[in-house]
Symmetry: C2
Subunit: 395 residues, 2 copies
Amino acid sequence: MEYRFSERVKSLKPSAIREILKNSSAPGIIPLSAGNPAPDAFPYDAIREISRRLLEDTPIEALQYSVTEGYPPLREHLRAYMGQKHHVGTEGDEILITSGAQQVMDLLTKTLLNEGDTVLCEAPSFIGSLNTFRSYRAKLRGIPMEEDGVDLAELERALESEKNIKYFYTIPNFQNPSGITMSLAKRKKAYELCRDHGVLILEDNPYGDLRFAGEDLPSIKSFDQEGVVMYAGSFSKVVSPGMRVGYAIGPKEVVQKMVVCKQGEDVHSNIWAQIVCHRFMTEFDYEAHVERLRAIYRRKSGILVEAMERHFSPLITWSHFEGGLFAWCTLPEGMDMLDFVKRAAERKACVVPGTAFLTDESEPCRSFRINFSTPTDEQLAEGVKILGEVAREMA
Amino acid sequence: MEYRFSERVKSLKPSAIREILKNSSAPGIIPLSAGNPAPDAFPYDAIREISRRLLEDTPIEALQYSVTEGYPPLREHLRAYMGQKHHVGTEGDEILITSGAQQVMDLLTKTLLNEGDTVLCEAPSFIGSLNTFRSYRAKLRGIPMEEDGVDLAELERALESEKNIKYFYTIPNFQNPSGITMSLAKRKKAYELCRDHGVLILEDNPYGDLRFAGEDLPSIKSFDQEGVVMYAGSFSKVVSPGMRVGYAIGPKEVVQKMVVCKQGEDVHSNIWAQIVCHRFMTEFDYEAHVERLRAIYRRKSGILVEAMERHFSPLITWSHFEGGLFAWCTLPEGMDMLDFVKRAAERKACVVPGTAFLTDESEPCRSFRINFSTPTDEQLAEGVKILGEVAREMA
């Protein structure tokens, strides 16, 4: 039979990058290309204990249908916690539990975007989100990143010139892939610019808790008294990504439409996982757990930086990063990045080519992304050594 | 701030039926309107045991990121099981694990449908699926149901006359809401008709295992050697709906596009739940469990039928049903169904008005749906008694 696909699916081309990454889970590969939390970051003792009690005491609660909006005690707790600790969420906001934060990107896009409407995003930005926006046939306009976050002049230019902009997508903390954190001044200014142009901000904050250096900065959502920001949070990096629990906090009117869309996508998110997240936050020492994570990633990022100083300098440079899971590295002028990534992969050191994170993969780019949470300490040191060798050979 | 929603979301009107159903979870309500599995149908001892071992022995496996296609051992087992037991799936087919079968409806629609394209569906049909199709701005064409399934002459007429038909959506076993099972002859003929018109069939089979009378019939997918049928299966009614695990078995070429779409929606489905489903199928006596479910629903449906014979006959009639969770009842001519449902709800007996399941809710309809799995035995008997009283008062 011949299949006639939708226009939106036809336009989703298989990525050249996927081919390069295909081997990244083969045996012997050094996985600097992934984005998995470190295995010792999972609070599995707590999850085991919560799950045991839950399935003994109230199994039906964990297994029966639930409501689309999410497990009510988790929603209530998150509202209080995010409000008190991070000043996120107002009376006019609503909270929706999603199947990972990825679903926030999906549902907001479904709710707002007509084919051809514009999404402003940081350039580079997280490929998973870009692909979600693409699946709704968004026109992506990338705003270049500077060392302290998005280029505001370019953001303003885009807000003035693009038509039908539905939102500006940003990851202000330890951005994926650049590792860059947006400065406080830029957060405020970006908020004002978008508000004044009547454009929503989609603030994606999966790594906010994973700061291992410097000072925490307020989220953009914390300034929001006018219903401008949709905040996407996630348990993937602090509890477990396999559970697929994320959440949206944003204007009631928008969230209510997202609920209707979610009903049609998966009815509700896995309820066992929602209860586990709730109990982990309320019955265990959540803050101590987060501190433990920070220590894990502080240590691992230290190994990475030390190795980069030894094997990359001065040929390969990297952006300063104070948290998250990634380092963004740039080859010297004239060096072919895709060729570099390919040669490194042949020697089993897998990184992601920077072009994967651009709105247009064919743009020139000399950067690549290293993940330091997935590899072991030894793999990390060895991988960086190989990358340094490849660069010197190509220089 | 003023929000500009997408056209697809604007067209999703809040349903009049939702208002009627809003009270259906209030205290004292007799829940004949739900669709939850009976609490004693959950294999919670097994799930508790599997989960305990899993989180003790290989917690990282249950908590780490996984692949979009689904947990490989579950996919392999389902392929073998569905192939051997139900003759579902060929060499040309692929299997995708989804976040409940609802996501199969979503992903297939996303993969195939452009705005305005046509979906053929049974009339009445499952409201959840209809709303998913609507969220992609499908044109829904309802094909009337007869006692042995869809009206084939009408199906053929629609196949000949409608433009851009992307698939025919059917629930051949114990259809929700009608309880009707499509005859073998009709299954074969519907398959041939769709194949000959180059139109896919979306075969949704959430209740197939819940037959408590009569003989099992082969699924439409079991005839499929030509890549015509996308089969949607679910663990919601046989293991747990709260886990949100379903699956699609269909032509590789289509499933591969659905995988790309799923990546953008939720990356993958909850991995703990996928492993639990796999181990439950392979390490426990799955067939004995299904037999136990059938016995539970045989007993509960018996209570319903007995109560209907006593309190409904001859005023209210119902369609013959041999499995599933629902009975479809019809009021005598001239009786206002929405008024009946409202009056019954005021007396705490909640059923779903039949109009909820139509492609056009404003069409005339004298039917309503009763669920017999959610209420207790006492609630079931009491609810039917109230419904009978209301009908006699209105007659």
